[in-house]
């Protein structure tokens, strides 16, 4: 691995990222998408690969706190970033309130799209503790689910928001 200079183009590159609080370092091909890097290189297979062209939202992760589709971002672009994937949601073996709300309100069926939904909801509730239905629809519009018909997902988000507000209020 040669030094990475500003003016040098190369097929492979060194990537240092923090994922769910843990640091990783790897040399990857520049063409490796972030989702493939997470799954194949780091073994974090919770993030799912759906359409691979930025439409379905299954691969949504947080990049420096902002929800992004990891299938249309290159792993090399994440160098130096802090990422959160679905594996980073649970706390001390307990499901995150968003995850629990999806169970309680039947916000998932086959579960394939769920990691992406959870991360989109995560970003939404960080910015808006009490989103109305329009804000929820806007946040979820980029995530496609084939099973639930969305109504239960919207209800899951409302419940998650209420639970997180309670938690915030009691602490």
């Amino acid at each position: 691995m040669t030094a990475q200079t500003s003016r040098q183009a190369a097929r492979t590159r060194q990537v240092r990222v923090t994922v769910n609080g843990r640091q990783y370092e790897a040399t990857v091909e520049a063409r490796t998408t972030l989702v493939d890097f997470l799954r194949a290189h780091l073994g974090l297979t919770g993030t799912h690969v759906g359409c691979e062209h930025g439409v379905c939202g299954a691969c949504t992760v947080l990049v420096d706190g902002a929800a992004a589709r990891s299938c249309i971002m290159l792993a090399v672009q994440a160098d130096g970033a802090e990422l959160t994937t679905v594996e980073g949601l649970s706390r001390d073996g307990e499901l995150h309130p968003i995850q629990q709300a999806f169970i309680d309100r039947h916000g998932l069926q086959c579960g394939f799209c769920t990691p992406g939904f959870l991360m989109s909801v995560c970003e939404l509730l960080q910015h808006d503790a009490d989103p109305d239905d329009e804000a929820i629809a806007d946040a979820l519009g980029g995530n496609i689910c084939r099973c639930t018909g969305y109504q239960q997902i919207v209800e899951s988000v409302r419940l998650a928001a209420a639970k997180l507000r309670e938690e915030g209020g009691s602490s």
Binding site: A10, A30, H53, A68, R69, M73, L74, S120
Partner: protein, 294 residues
């Protein structure tokens, strides 16, 4: 699918970025937000030898007012425009259009300069730039130059930008006091590419007559287009339903070769151009009247 192999560079100065483009020319592709380019790579519709990633360039991420312009750094994320009070107050047309670009997850990455340089005819920002007479600041081997939006979009995904040039800033004129605006589009689902859309600004004189109007249509041709005949019809007239219907017909006639695909026929797109123009003129006039009353 997965992207084909390419060499990748992440320059940290504009000088280095330009040097890379000079060195690799047409074999290189500039990566901004990547929300259009990376899907094209994944589908192998684009096979550049070199990717020059602008995301490490400092100083291209800002929204500020400079005299009568809203100056926006080319690498400013669309989400930042959505959240910018300055953008909402000074250029509400731009702000409203931003919320119609795809989804929040896309707007978190997608950039202002990238969307313009990509020049998708169904995209929102090119139409906004054309409607407002925006100006693109471009850096290249010979230094900087400014390209007016009306000269920028040449055909489908093709602009006046040379392969050795990079968009550094986009300047949108701020909306004059008392002007009205509207940005409307029709898509099959919220966040999908528009089948057709209209961006309108107009201003009223103190006597309530139309001082001027601008109409940009998008999704209905290889580039966004100005409906100049419709604009001319409106100037000096008193706003009203009959006038707007007449202008909408002229806007519809300005659409020469709309795209025809599985999503919408050419005839339907042309029809939409008329309908959306009429609705946008009506909404813009109401806003202009509201602004004058206030």
């Amino acid at each position: 699918m997965k992207p084909p192999p390419f060499e990748y560079a992440a320059p940290t100065t504009l000088e280095d970025a330009l040097a890379l483009l000079r060195e690799h020319g047409g074999d290189a592709k500039v990566l901004a937000g990547g929300q259009s380019l990376v899907p094209l790579l994944n589908m192998r519709l684009a096979r550049p030898a070199v990717i020059v990633d602008l995301n490490r360039l400092p100083g291209l991420d800002y929204v500020r007012q400079v005299d009568g312009w809203l100056a926006i750094g080319a690498m400013t994320r669309q989400r930042a425009i959505e959240r910018s009070d300055l953008a909402r107050e000074r250029q509400p047309l731009l702000h409203a259009a931003t919320r119609l670009i795809a989804h929040p997850q896309i707007r978190n990455r997608g950039t202002v300069g990238g969307s313009l340089a990509h020049a998708d005819p169904a995209a929102e920002y090119p139409a906004v730039a054309l409607a407002l007479d925006a100006e693109l600041r471009v850096a290249g081997p010979a230094g900087e130059r400014a390209i007016p939006a009306r000269n920028f979009f040449q055909t489908y995904l093709t602009t006046a930008l040379d392969v050795t040039e990079i968009v550094t800033e986009v300047r949108f004129p701020t909306l004059p006091q008392g002007a009205g605006w509207s940005f409307l589009e029709l898509s099959r689902r919220h966040g999908d590419f528009a089948l057709a859309g209209a961006a309108v600004t107009l201003s009223l004189s103190s006597s309530g007559m139309l001082d001027g109007a601008r109409i940009a249509l998008f999704g209905v041709g290889a580039t966004p287009l100005r409906a100049t005949a419709a604009e001319a019809l409106l100037t000096g007239e008193t706003p009203g339903d009959a006038l707007f219907t007449h202008a909408a017909q002229a806007a519809r006639d300005a659409v020469e070769e709309p795209l025809s695909d599985v999503h919408a026929s050419a005839e339907y797109r042309r029809h939409l151009a008329g309908v959306l123009t009429r609705r946008a003129l009506t909404e813009a006039a109401a806003r202009a009247r509201g602004g004058r009353a206030a």
